[in-house]
């Protein structure tokens, strides 16, 4: 069944990558590893966009391709700001452990 439609294979790989990234973002303690998990999730979404563009009806309209390009740009900006925040938090609290950063806890 999957061998008949390559799109299903790509979608399954993307779902698996998204789940791995989500598990990393939810379970790891270090803030940098959480950011890596988020990057993995964004990349899985990009794989979905490209796969649907490739096997879709009108690839000449370039919609999925453009969406993926803009998504990569936004993800790069997000990574820069996120890692800057991690460095700033580490400078203030001397830790990057998310279980210890609970200053805003009520």
């Amino acid at each position: 069944m999957i061998s008949a439609t390559p799109l299903a294979g790509y979608l399954l790989i993307a779902a698996l990558l998204f789940a791995i990234g989500l598990a990393g973002a939810l379970t790891r303690r270090n803030a940098i590893l959480v950011l890596i998990g988020i990057e993995l999730m964004l990349n899985a979404a990009n794989l979905n966009l490209i796969a649907f563009w490739r096997f879709g009806e009108h690839p000449e309209a370039l919609t999925g391709l453009m969406f993926a390009i803009f998504s990569i740009a936004v993800a790069a900006a997000e990574a820069a700001v996120g890692l800057g925040l991690v460095i700033s938090i580490h400078r203030h609290l001397r830790t990057a452990d998310l279980d210890q950063i609970n200053r805003m806890k009520g």
């Binding site: 439609t5 998204f18 990349n43 391709l65 990569i72 990574a79 700001v81």
Partner: protein, 168 residues
């Protein structure tokens, strides 16, 4: 499904899994750049050459270096102590991730026989992409340029030393 697909899929998933599971943060950064490279190979295989090379440049080049810099600046490269590398609520996180995977996987397997499948290779040149970026997509392009500028300034300001603020 070709042989190459399975090789690239195994590479990507192994990279992603070890990035999430490894103890040493530098090893994690290395593993995640392998996963990014595997995704770039997927893009190349899907005839999206421009996006594939952009992925190589942005992720394997820039984001991986940024992650390594952040790890070294936050002393994450030191060998972790005996404390757990996973959060206290790791079981809940794992259950949520498994449920999130199960739903799209079930949907994809249900819909697989009816899926669209265009066999002919889309002939997209970089010139067409450039024309589209300068024509139909010029407004999103400008917004992304503004966003990247704001993110650059924001990241520098956030990570900058704050000596003046502390003295006053």
């Amino acid at each position: 499904m070709s042989f190459v697909f399975y090789v690239v899929a195994a590479l990507t998933l192994a990279g992603a899994l070890s990035a999430v599971l490894l103890k040493n943060l530098v090893h994690c950064a290395l593993a995640v750049s392998i996963a990014f490279a595997g995704l770039a190979l997927f893009f190349l295989q899907l005839d999206a050459e421009f996006v594939g090379f952009a992925q190589f440049l942005v992720y394997v080049g820039a984001v991986a270096i940024l992650v390594v810099f952040a790890i070294l600046l936050t002393r994450g490269s030191e060998t972790p102590k005996k404390t757990e590398i996973f959060s206290r609520t790791w079981l809940t996180g794992l259950a949520v991730a498994g449920a999130i995977f199960a739903v799209p996987a079930w949907a994809v397997l249900q819909a697989a026989p009816w899926m669209i499948h265009t066999t002919e290779k889309p002939a997209v040149t970089v010139q067409e992409i450039g024309n589209a970026l300068m024509g139909r997509y010029v407004l999103p392009l400008e917004i992304v340029a503004l966003l990247l500028t704001a993110a650059l300034i924001g990241a520098v300001i956030v990570a900058m030393h704050e000596k003046e603020g502390r003295n006053s």
